[in-house]
């Protein structure tokens, strides 16, 4: 079991010894089930750290903010940032390293193992609680979620409330870390792409209808993009204006900014947005599932990325986020890559 006190103690020492600038971790959220990201600068605040089934956020996303902040500073503090990562999140670190977005020295990784469970799907828990508000949630040793409400505690089997990404997760514990918390439990999943297969088995028309129904809900709030640790570009190709502008950017360059899609949430534009997003994450998405979790309209965005993760594996034998030194999926090839689709 992950011992939260160990985590707090390490965090305290890191801050006391001034080994890290600050620590990105989890703290109690305001709604009972969800934790919230915390940015801990003072040693005394390390007591606020939590580790519970509601720690779904992929905190590596905040490395982007850190990088930008650092770039603005005249005399940047070169110490690393402490960061709490789960198995999936740690793969994001590997991808960021692979893409040279961060250096290994930029982060001090506090890796926590998901052991035999993972994080919850808030919606699944809410359904189980039927409107009751959770005060506290935790896993017990028998893979049950123990929920404390004003009416007392209830136990719910993990498989009924685990986030789907955790059910399909192949790692469960950090693949890169400086300190490891919890047990390294070897756990495999036989259903890594189950959610994808559900859709694959539909007819072409059913697929279109499914996605049309989903994307019609999209309000283009871009939370899926904003929360993604890989969507770190200063300027997204689908944005309609350029904001990576400097004093040297000419009027022509600005005028020639291509409007690949419009802001309107019409089907054509929304589809293309999501297709491009998925393509740009091919070979980069580590399936932390955050895009899907944050979507206010419950669009199963993760299914798109997961599909490409599956194809990368089956077509090109490519797995994401295990080796920071491998070439990227689309910047490499093999002679024997399939080409049966080509005439």
């Amino acid at each position: 079991m992950v011992n939260l006190d160990d985590l707090k103690k390490e965090a305290l020492n890191l801050l006391k010894d001034e080994k890290v600038k600050y620590i990105i971790g989890y703290t109690e959220g305001s709604n009972g089930t969800s934790a919230a990201p915390a940015f801990i600068k003072n040693p005394e605040d390390t007591d606020k750290l939590v580790w519970n089934p509601g720690c779904f956020h992929n905190l590596t996303r905040f490395l982007r903010d850190e990088k930008k902040r650092k770039a603005r500073e005249k005399h940047p503090d070169e110490r690393p940032v402490g960061i709490v990562v789960k198995g999936c999140d740690s793969r994001a670190i590997n991808v960021l390293l692979q893409e040279k977005y961060i250096k290994r020295d930029d982060v001090f990784i506090l890796g926590v193992s998901c052991e035999s469970t993972g994080v919850i799907d808030e919606k699944k828990v809410a359904k189980k609680l039927k409107g009751k508000k959770a005060q506290k949630i935790e896993w017990d040793t028998n893979r049950n979620l123990v929920v404390t409400t004003e009416d007392g505690t209830t136990k719910i089997p993990a498989d009924e409330v685990l986030a789907e990404r955790c059910v399909e997760c192949p790692v469960h514990s950090p693949v890169v870390y400086d300190i490891f918390f919890g047990d390294k439990i070897k756990r495999t999943t036989d259903a890594q792409f189950k959610s994808v297969e559900k859709i694959e088995n539909l007819s072409q028309k059913e697929k279109w209808d499914f996605w049309k129904k989903q994307f019609d809900k999209c309000i283009r709030c871009y939370a899926c993009r904003s929360v993604c640790p890989m969507c770190y570009c200063d300027e997204c190709v689908v944005d309609t204006i350029s904001f990576a502008v400097t004093a040297d950017t000419t009027a022509e360059e600005k005028a020639q900014r291509i409007k690949w899609i419009e802001k309107s949430p019409t089907p054509s534009e929304t589809f293309i947005y999501h297709i491009i997003r998925a393509i740009h994450l091919a070979g980069r998405c580590i399936d932390c599932g955050e895009c899907e979790r944050v979507c206010p309209l419950d669009i199963p965005i993760r299914f798109l990325n997961k599909k490409l993760e599956k194809e990368a594996k089956s077509l090109f034998d490519y797995e994401v986020g295990f080796d920071p030194d491998q070439l990227s999926l689309v910047s490499s090839f093999k002679d024997e890559d399939p080409e049966d689709f080509i005439r």
């Binding site: 305001s30 709030c221 949430p265 309209l297």
Partner: protein, 344 residues
């Protein structure tokens, strides 16, 4: 006027109303949302919809005009107004209706917004009061609202158990009741009294509270350069959820969408935009008056609790709690405001 409608008669009334288009909350995949429904699809038992019905009056995409080039390459334009079609939003929550009344202020004034008003004038708002809070983050009473506020509403229904207590506030509202006069009875004094106590009781059930809201606008004046904004925005991921789901946020963008390049054809459209996107205020020179998350959070809070108050004497927040429920990183506007209020 005030009337009583039995639950038994309710479907008959709805059937009468259904001569015009009705939007009402429907549930799809566990999400409530306001959609066009037929009479049978209407219910008064629903939790708060993910999106407020603002999207009906102020759609995310509004066509402004159509442009094209004639044979000489000269532009021709044609105004595109919303179609003539009366409708009813049935089951709007009092907070959302209050949001509409706030939008009325914005889209009125010196420059009346033709598109907004064309839609607004054709819609009748039938509210359903909240006997129990429809969201775990409701805090309407903290921002001058109540579960039975009728601001912005034409009609308000209160669920009295076997009956609905029906109140109308406008001619539009009267019209709806008058369509089926026979179904409605005059309320008895007891019913009036029951209504009052039910309303009072409902106010006590609010799950979230912000105390001393009045202190906030004056307090904000001095906090423009406060570190609060940095601290509170650390975990913000700059998405547009809080604003797009907000029943009062009204910011928008206007852009030209080209459907054919040769010959040129396209439409000028209004789309929602929001102050949390980094490009929202960026000048074409690259200069951005609100360059970071902190200044954008500040704008959101200050606009709602200072600027709007200064202009219209209202908070631009109706306490629906959507931004709290859906924030991916748990930024809680109540907590932020408490910090503002208690800032020394």
């Amino acid at each position: 006027m005030e009337k009583i409608l039995t639950k038994k008669s309710f479907p008959n009334w709805i059937a009468k109303l259904a001569t015009v288009q009705i939007y009402a909350p429907v549930v799809k995949d566990d999400l409530w949302s306001y959609e066009v429904v037929d009479a049978a699809g209407i219910t008064t038992e629903y939790t708060n919809a993910i999106q407020s019905p603002k999207k009906i009056i102020f759609p995310q995409r509004e066509l402004f005009l159509e442009f094209s080039h004639n044979d000489n390459g000269s532009p021709e334009i044609r105004e595109l107004l919303p179609e003539d079609k009366e409708s009813i939003i049935f089951g709007i929550r009092p907070c959302d209706a209050k949001g509409v009344s706030h939008m009325d202020k914005v889209f009125g004034g010196d420059f009346e917004d033709s598109y907004y008003w064309k839609r607004r004038n054709q819609v009748t708002l039938v509210g359903v009061g909240c006997n129990t809070p429809p969201s775990p983050n409701c805090f309407c009473t903290s921002v001058d609202g109540s579960p039975f506020s009728h601001e912005g509403l034409d009609v308000l229904l209160t669920d009295m158990g076997d009956n609905y207590y029906v109140q109308t506030f406008t001619k539009k509202g009267d019209k709806l009741v008058n369509m089926s006069k026979g179904l409605f009875a005059a309320p008895k004094p007891k019913e009036k009294a029951d209504l009052e106590s039910l309303h009072k009781d409902a106010e006590t059930k609010l799950p979230r509270h912000l105390k001393d809201t009045k202190k906030i606008p004056p307090k904000l004046k001095g906090l423009f350069d406060s570190e609060i904004w940095d601290d509170e925005s650390m975990s913000c991921i700059r998405c547009g959820i809080c604003t797009y789901l907000c029943p009062t946020c009204h910011c928008f963008d206007i852009s030209d969408e080209i459907t054919s390049h040769s010959p040129l054809e396209g439409k000028r459209v209004r789309t929602w935009d929001n102050c949390q996107f980094p490009d929202f205020t960026m000048h074409s020179s690259g200069h951005n008056p609100r360059p970071d998350k902190a200044s954008r959070l500040r704008q959101r809070i200050m606009h709602k609790f200072q600027y709007f108050v200064e202009i219209y004497n209202n908070y631009q927040c109706v306490g629906c709690g959507r931004c709290i429920s859906k924030c991916p990183v748990g930024i809680d506007i109540i907590q932020v405001l408490e910090k503002v209020r208690d800032h020394v």
